[in-house]
Symmetry: C2
Subunit: 450 residues, 2 copies
């Protein structure tokens, strides 16, 4: 008899995990509260946001054997294109010439993964909304579309059900469970830039566009249909430019004309988008333990992060990769052992990336527009060029490697300290390309970051 395993949530993480588990020969069921959005108009259901795939994500897709099916759907972004208030743009590469992150629509990506899980034999149960989970006897009660309820008893239960996870809610009230949820002061609104009348991209298609304005910003990621999905990040309140101060269409136009004039010229549906799309909040959650009685939290359910490092999905995919590695090593003889090893090994890394994501808002919305920051980035790029093994910039360690997030975090802190010292030279703007780079590297080595 095949071992049965039940997953909550058929999002990106749940779908990829189902693929891994099917490939290990298990009997996998997924319970999802939404309708099967693959049958309905893709833009009508779910979020239109696009994701940025990077190294950790690719690695997990490759091991799951699904990389080739994803490749046709991506749009590479080799760097940030910064838009200043006068409409000038500047390009900041993310890494080396061949390095990029890849924009992909959440909906089509989710469909690819879920189709594959289904093709491999996973049982999909849509319109199953979790009403409660009893962790002690692993009983899950769902409400169905017709209003009926249904309970199942599970042998192994995994909550891949996102930032507002039902399994985590059950942990919170039923276990000695440490939990922290924090909303940041900013919310976001999705907007869009359509293709030009000629059917072309309206801006550079190989970049993540940023309009950094200090306390707020606009970003745009390219889509395969030659449109861009834009996200406006504003404080909810407490500032002149904030969601609370937008009362009518004039206020919207006023903000865009003043701060995003070049973008606004490309947004014929701005007012309609703004008024019809919701204003969403951004949450960070950290918790522990992730496992109890053969149940496990994974992905956003275990560690929801803010989107400013583009790592939420990649980190969740890496969770799946690591969990699969543990199953490879220890088998399914003791799920408890595997889940315990998973949480102990992984928790410091997800704490690190949650923190980095939080910190990166300041980098994206403020620093990238600062001339001194640009020099700093140039010095770091030079160090990377000169010492490609010894000085890897933090962004590259996170985005283009599979180094443990916690290790990247620690090394990043040391680099930051050394760079603060380098940048404290009052003549740095003139001297930056005549620095003693060997000495800088030496400082980092002494501090133990190499």
């Amino acid at each position: 008899m095949k071992e049965k395993i039940d997953l909550l949530g058929a999002g990106l993480i749940g779908s990829l995990l189902a693929i891994y588990l099917k490939k290990r020969g298990l009997d996998v069921s997924i319970y999802e509260k939404r309708k099967d959005w693959r049958q309905v108009n893709a833009t009508g259901e779910g979020r239109s946001i696009n994701m940025a795939l990077s190294y950790r994500g690719w690695k997990a897709l490759e091991k799951a054997g699904i990389k080739d099916k994803v490749l046709p759907h991506i749009q590479p972004m080799h760097g940030r294109r910064i838009h200043d208030e006068h409409g000038n743009t500047y390009f900041q590469p993310y890494g080396k010439e061949n390095q990029a992150i890849y924009s992909i629509s959440r909906n089509s990506f989710n469909k690819i993964l879920l189709d594959e899980a289904e093709a491999l034999g996973a049982n999909l149960h849509f319109e199953h909304k979790v009403e409660r989970v009893n962790v002690g006897d692993r009983e899950v009660t769902f409400s169905l579309a017709d209003g009926a309820t249904k309970s199942i008893q599970t042998e192994v239960l995994i909550g891949s059900d996102g930032a507002y996870s039902s399994l985590r809610n059950a942990f919170q009230s039923q276990l000695r469970f440490n939990f922290n949820q924090q909303y940041i002061s900013h919310g976001y609104k999705e907007l869009s830039i359509p293709p030009t009348p000629e059917g072309e991209f309206a801006m550079d298609p190989n970049a993540l566009h940023i309009w950094p304005r200090g306390k707020f910003m606009l970003i745009a990621l390219p889509n395969q249909d030659k449109s861009f999905t834009c996200t406006l990040f504003l404080p909810f309140e407490g500032y002149k430019v904030s969601f609370e101060n937008i009362h009518d269409d004039q206020d919207i136009l006023q903000i865009f004309k003043t701060h995003f004039n070049d973008a606004q010229a490309l947004m014929p549906t701005l007012i309609r988008d703004f008024n019809s799309n919701p204003t969403s909040a951004l949450i960070n959650t950290e918790c522990y333990p992730w496992t109890e009685n053969n149940t496990l939290l994974i992905g956003d359910a275990a560690h929801a992060m803010v989107p400013f490092y583009g790592q939420g999905m990649n980190c969740g995919f890496e969770d799946c990769f690591i969990l699969d590695g543990l199953l490879e090593k220890y088998g399914t003889f003791s799920w408890d052992l595997v889940f315990q090893k998973f949480q102990k090994g992984r928790k410091p890394d997800t704490d690190a990336i949650c923190q980095l994501a939080m910190d990166n808002f300041v980098e994206m919305s403020d620093n990238v527009a600062d001339p001194k920051f640009l020099i700093r980035k140039k010095i770091e790029a030079r160090l990377y060029e000169l010492y490609p093994k010894e000085w890897v910039p933090l962004y590259s360690m996170v985005t283009f490697s599979d180094m443990k997030y916690s290790e990247a975090y620690t090394i990043g802190k040391i680099q930051e300290k050394v760079m603060d010292q380098v940048m404290s030279d009052p003549l740095i703007t003139q001297n930056w390309d005549r620095l003693d780079y060997e000495d800088i590297l030496h400082k980092v080595e002494v501090a133990g970051a190499v």
Copy 2:
């Protein structure tokens, strides 16, 4: 028409708050999930734990006009009596000669307050278990004893429903709500020491007894019936002496004979108590905001703390005192204004006492047994004697004054730094009563703590 106000929870804080609100002429209803425990055997329902009333609590009781009814039920404790491993005891006064904290049984105290609230006209609704709260339209749905459900629409709703508050749970899923819950590594078990065969207290009745053993401890508070309620604090796991390593009666006896021999001799029902009483966890919660749409969290619902500073109840009572002060000042014209002022003014203070309570476990279970700590306390006592206005020990600021907790916290940190310096003298054990006390005070003054 009188303004209607609904409270969730008829515990100590809900009952005292109801008294205050009735005295302001409001129409007050309390909804409580338990049966009316005043009619049933008092020891059969609720927790038998006793509370330690101190200055802030008394002040709130006095303003509510209920102090005289409480006075006959208390047992003063003038200090800690420390029990070492050989059965020797040492007395450490809490403050000056006339200062004490007062042991009172939670059950009888709750009865006094609730009787008074009822006598003043509060409507009590027992066996109303909150199933859900819709914060947006202030609708509360209860399940009743017979299984039926009942919904009410409230105008003003206050959650005085404790560390696992239903209103707070609603905030968590319905608002942009920052929330942190943290369980500490220790749990507790209640035990008891009965009166002697002659009907007397088995130990000094005017002290809080502590058996400090580093990573664990036993404490005992006197009751009016000449018994003591004891609380054993042990780590759940990870240490030799921990709850996970107690498997049978022999293990219990072994721990008590080794570490609490003098107490064990006074505990004829030790084994029975240990086996029949639950092992309980200790939670700290911090959250924000406390108010939304004319609803408010108060007491443990807003800030549950661990019990090691004896301030949980006193802090909750002070919440009521402060809220009543705001109602006195601003009236009930705008509950929103009052609730906003309450949360903004009070939050830094409850954060401070939560932190102090967490830190105090180390003081109670470890420091109090350290000879150097005793000298430190003597130096501080001397400073207090010499400069009664300028150097008030932290414990006294918290326990015997109504200084803001946040201010006490800040001053305490400065005192701690100065005392660390004083104690770093290697000859301090010989020199402590020949110190230049004026100089110590001067250091504190320079740091701004006077």
